[in-house]
Symmetry: D2
Subunit: 489 residues, 4 copies
């Protein structure tokens, strides 16, 4: 049986000898580190859900490669329905973790590399795709967690990879050997790297002639020699080091990003899936981006559901749940959340089969989905802040609340409606705080903005994927510049 | 063969003896009246498309009742895919008519009455559904055009139908006879009534005890005695009476609404499909509204495509098509249009089977779709006005352009880039004018706002269709108010 | 006494022999033409208000040139308070005409040319300013109405005036004679030309070397030989030719724009105020634009007040005035309207003295004011449409309402709350229709977008008027990149 | 000379024996506590600026009571210009502290209590106003810092103060003695209490019959017996306890809020300025709110300037400063910031004289100003996050950056354009982080939402301050329901 339990997943991480730094120190037992652990828990939930009978239809599927049952996060999309189940699974996990559960990047990368490597082989007679199938079978059989590694650090944004002052601003091949390649560079804010078994490294943008060494896809275990993971700071991260479970807002779960250094890392050829085919870089990027921009139509509505529930609860606790302006704002929050989810579903249903036989979601609608995500969660947090009240950013600490002298004041004075314990109101406030300012805010706000590509990237794709000449033709016909359509003809 | 050609449809209208008033006069030959004819052409397009091989998959389907080929506008939705094809058909027709083609109200009403009459019969042992199936077979076999007639004139909005000062503010039964019923009342801004063969009359809101006479569904031919149709004024309507084809903007096609008076109209029992079952009124209204709010995810993106094409063409003609701010605005127009369409698709794909075996779209997502429609077309016209320039509302008339003395001035001075004839620019301006101010604007703006229910109606449905307690439970679990989920449990 | 009465103003127009075309015909008695007359009435209101004791403080001021009492529309701004009174006067007139009253363009042009001609003379020793003062005294003494004429037809928007394929795309000097100059070109959508005595012609954008013939300011009576005025079509313009006073929405007042052709027009030197000083063109444009972008902070709030009042009245007539969502929407309409007005006031109060001693409003804030105007009236009309209901675009005609047979149906069925006559509801609907679709919509929507410069023009000015280096310095200091400010130092 | 230096201000705080709790501990030397100190520094800046010759005009004014020079923060507004200088002073301080500098609440409270106490005395012949003048002279003479204390903890939001289950949910008199009164209750999220010398306690909402004990205004030193200050947690507060100066974002300055407990606090009569006059409570609230809603038109634009500068700098450092979409976004940030400031200026200029002879800003425009503030800073931070990039929430810590092993990786890989040191980019990122997520975010976001009243409070005031009947009359006149204005009459 290839489906790991959460415990098996976490135990398997203990076997990884990662070179990991956090807040200026090398961390040996990173699995139990209180700052890191919530991000491991969040991924563990993707393992747990695969063992729940009621979620099996969403979380487990048959492998297109082996026919065996595999976790959907490691599966190829065999149909539009598969992509629909993907976003519904993501919404469920967003609801249960209230944060980024990190494993989607790998799932989307797995699919994009699959179809791209196939088409490279078709053109060049290379063997990338066959190698890739082998690697993917290994991943599925061992239910590994894969981190999709795309975003380079990029240096001067206006300059091509091979023209940068420092050639390492994009990950690239520095040596080709008979047994493999040597890499150098760094991946910025890599989601879920430290808690994954391997990274699937991809290029981050369109490559052109001269960028051959940068046009690269390969798999690298996270504890490979030469790999250094530097844990990114998160808002309010050290609250996880304090005693107590309130101030952190979301005690169990959290996201994770690392600056990932690749300093002369060796990769054997059987783990290399593109190397130098510059023109395929953009295909890979756009397919990955398409998948991943869809993903935000699943996870962010799930997180949004928690925020909506929290805001409604605060209104209850304040005694204003039925006030018309509160209902209006909650309705707006739902409306925005469902708009995102609707777009995520639509691009799945409208998917198409690639030459390699897995499915791709509709690229235009996926970009539209993500572009809404760059806007609506910000309005959702704004509305939640409105409903929550100013106390959101002025509550005393849990330590004050537990204090023998002043605790009673807080308990007395921070009560809303008499029936609800002050502590419940307290906890709901810190949850909303976590989602709008604190530990979850990077997952819900900034990742919504920049994850899977910044807003301008979607605007460009939306323009590119639109047949504007067709629209202009329609207009010319109606206007009578071209011949008008005769309904009786 | 039950599929009428456009010509057959138009000829069949000549047989109707409607009592129709327009601009203060009774119109006898209303089929050829230049103000009315574009609205007939728009419906004719729904007949034409059914005869095009390349559109057959969208426009024609098998009758669930007879297995015969029927126009989709008269068909029951047999699957989610049917509803998907519906919105794609609507987008295609929106693109080709650039206005409201009016026949959707009937299509959506046909489906809502089908499932509701079935459930009434289940509860009360009545025979509405069987009668309805007979009527619908007749409609399908003759490829009739049906106007869905829901919105009452409503009088004081805060008062129930049976409590209004004037009892006729909602259509109601004034007499029950052995052979049928007598109706009185009026339907406001009824879309596509005069160019339809029959009206399918429905109640407009939730009914309560005491409203029995108002809880009514039945079919009435548009030329029944006692029916008076008063044609609504449209912005710039009389431009259709002027010579020339430019100033009107959209020469061939247009929408139509009438104030429809029902003054003691007799309806035989075999055409009555609900009569007095107050509690089913809201079911009918919500199902119809669900379908029809989805419809806007098809037609309005189609009209939007024309507007986008027109705006892009104006930018071409002005020589600024590649200016970044123009591209940004066009990209935004596409983004908003596709967001609407994505929601329209999503609620179709997520549809479910009614007890009567036709399909209903997802009610929550359909309301979300329509709620976006109450906003985005306004932003689209705003952006189109921005791109088009002030000339949009200051162009001289076509008569000036054709004038022997001043025509040359206009031709010379209203040219944009030298390669494009002034007349093309002129025509594109008047098209955009028609869509933002003129004859098409009610179709694209006000109908987007109020058609299938005003914004507040959707807000209420969005609130009602949301399981807020579930969301609050999610929040309480994450916050640790309820027990937190243990990922290792 | 230099203050004309409305009657004197209208009578004085009869003396003008304008060469005016409308709907394909030359109009001889244009003063009494029902399409044109409302625009004359709107300007007449600027004369009327100067004779009202309670408005005198706003409408009348002392001439900076002569000390005599003059209409503010012909006055130089002698202080920030003068500019404040200007926007308050504009709001009052917007409230009383519910449309563009057209005379502001001249007022703002008068001030911009005053200070610019002064600075040209300072640099070049020319005599433009003295000539200009003489002309302006004549204008003030005779209380003439002046149309500011800036916007050229522009041809290819990406090409400089002197580089256009057709050299006449911008108004320019074709011959310099000893007694004056000969002009050719056309001014697009010139506001209030036909109902003005003279045009004050200005360049429309930054000029560069080679554009000397296009760098031109001068005064031209509207009935000068060679001037042809072609009246622009307005939405629903011919409703003014129908009998009745309801359907037109705003019976008495309206805007006016003409395409103004200058075909070899002679201008004597004493009426020329800039001719060839290319570098002063942009100064003139920016000063005029600054003034005129402020003006929108006066008139549009005034028109908005009428729209808000109309929407509130419709809510009354429908019986929903106290519904929370209606109050929310009306509150939003007020909020947006007052935001515009606040910006219009602020840029006035923050004005500064030019070298010529009249006052200029704050350019940055004036652009901010206008930029909000390119957005908010669209949202206001959207909200008004929401409140008004679908009947807005489907009401029968006044002729139907007066019809002996069907009039009674309309009276019965279009009533809202019983206490309000149907006709009142009817009239309020047509007023909102006029403001959102019909005759007033170009004044309230498109003019808000493009008048005094399109949105992108403001964005450019906002960028230019901002001291970004100062802001970056602030950020560097706080961030500790530059030395941090020590509060104890 | 009554103007304290920053050092004198800070030294004076050392004399206060406050009962202050922070993170579960009583803090004795709170003046030097690293979490608290930045909030002291921010107020110190209000003292510093009064000693700068170039700012004197803004920061110093003559006392209306004594004619002596006083800090504007303790002065009465003697004219509209005074209120204009107030918002300009606030903008300057916002620019220099990039956070809430806290002293405005006192300034606005000082003015509101002044005019309200006067009117109470007029009605009741009480002596509140005279006492108040004495107290205010003392404050001015000693250049004390005053915290305005309005917001009660409020309990059940739908229940009046005297009807709450717990009578202490609003601050109230529990005993009236011959020498003074005894208070009980708590003020929520009181801005700048711990670093002020005294609190000026006011009621928080409209009081009605029965609420006499809650209708209370008085002055209480912050170290009075019975006063307990519990310091609110701020996002990322403990970063100030770490070594280094980067991660905190804004090293020197910060805001401060405390939950302030008043547990049987004695106040002598000479410090009581309202006690039981229920109907004056709403006057005081609305006047204070008017002033304070204006204040946001000063400070938030100042903070916004820093954010705009930071965003522009990040674009520089990334090499994309001239990209059109970046310029568009920066332009939008400026536009929104200046819109707020414009409204803040406008309501000042339009101010009016109270019966007590100080000035009140225009209430409607002040509410409009603040209502924009509840929206725009959220969009500003969203845009700043867009420009800054995802690194905003994933940068390693300063300790990593300084680390002997991995520091060089960070220095190499987080560089943008080669010319700018990585550290500068680092610092700019953490500044933006502080403003959007971290220590400054409560000042810039939540305070913008809830400070001086939540959005709904402004909506209510906007509705109340609008003469809707006048607007409806305008509409009725234009529509011809009332008699139309005849321009020739």
């Amino acid at each position: 049986m290839s489906l790991k339990t959460p415990k098996e997943y976490i135990d398997s991480l203990r076997g990884l000898k990662e070179n990991l730094y956090l807040l200026g120190e090398k961390v040996e037992n990173w699995v139990d580190n209180p700052i890191i652990r919530p991000s491991i828990n969040a991924i563990a939930m993707t393992y747990k859900i695969a063992h729940e009978p009621e979620s099996e239809d969403l979380a487990v599927t048959e492998s297109m490669l082996t026919g065996k049952k595999v976790n959907r996060f490691n599966a190829l999309y065999k149909s539009p329905e598969d992509m629909v189940k993907k976003v519904k699974l993501q919404r469920e996990l967003g609801q249960r973790t209230a944060c980024c559960f990190q494993r989607c990047v790998g799932m989307d990368a797995i699919n994009a590399v699959f179809s791209t490597s196939y088409e490279i082989d078709q053109k060049y007679g290379t063997a990338y795709h066959q190698r890739y199938r082998e690697w993917l079978k290994y991943v599925q059989d061992n239910d590994l967690c894969i981190a999709g590694a795309m975003t380079d650090v990029k240096g001067h944004r206006g300059v091509a990879p091979s023209q940068q002052a420092d050639p390492d601003m994009f990950v690239h091949v520095v040596e080709r050997r008979s047994d493999g390649i040597i890499l150098r560079g760094a991946k910025a804010h890599l989601t879920g790297a430290a808690n994954s078994h391997e990274m699937l490294i991809m290029p981050t943008l369109r490559m052109r002639e001269g960028d051959e060494d940068y046009s690269l896809t390969c798999a690298v275990p996270t504890d490979t020699e030469g790999v250094t993971l530097i844990y990114g700071r998160q808002s309010c991260d050290t609250r996880k080091l304090e005693k107590g479970d309130i101030d952190v807002g979301n005690y169990n779960f959290g996201g994770q990003e690392t600056l990932t250094i690749l300093d002369n890392v060796f990769v054997p050829w059987e783990r290399v899936f593109m190397c130098g085919e510059v023109e395929f870089s953009i295909m890979l990027v756009e397919r990955f981006a398409g998948y991943h921009r869809q993903s935000y139509g699943g996870c962010k509505p799930g997180i949004g559901d928690v925020l909506i529930g929290a805001a409604a609860s605060m209104a209850d606790y304040n005694g204003v749940r039925r006030a018309p302006h509160i209902r209006e704002k909650l309705g707006e929050m739902i409306h925005l959340t469902e708009t995102i989810h609707g777009c995520g579903l639509a691009c799945a249903y409208e998917g198409w089969k690639t030459k390699a036989s897995n499915y791709q979601c509709d690229i235009l609608l996926a970009n539209v989905c993500k572009h809404n995500v760059t806007r609506f969660p910000y309005e959702l947090t704004r509305l939640a802040e409105d409903i929550a009240g100013g106390l959101l950013v002025t509550t005393p600490s849990e330590k004050d609340f537990r204090h023998p002298v002043i605790g009673k004041y807080i308990d007395k004075y921070l009560r809303g409606v008499p029936e609800v314990p002050t502590e419940a109101r307290y906890r709901m406030l810190t949850l909303i705080h976590a989602m709008s300012f604190g530990l979850v805010a990077p997952s819900y706000r900034t990742e919504s903005m920049h994850g899977a590509g910044s807003p301008q990237a979607q605007k460009i794709m939306i323009e590119r994927e639109t047949d504007m000449e067709h629209k202009q033709k329609l207009a010319r016909s109606i206007a009578g510049i071209d011949e008008r359509e005769d309904v009786l003809a």
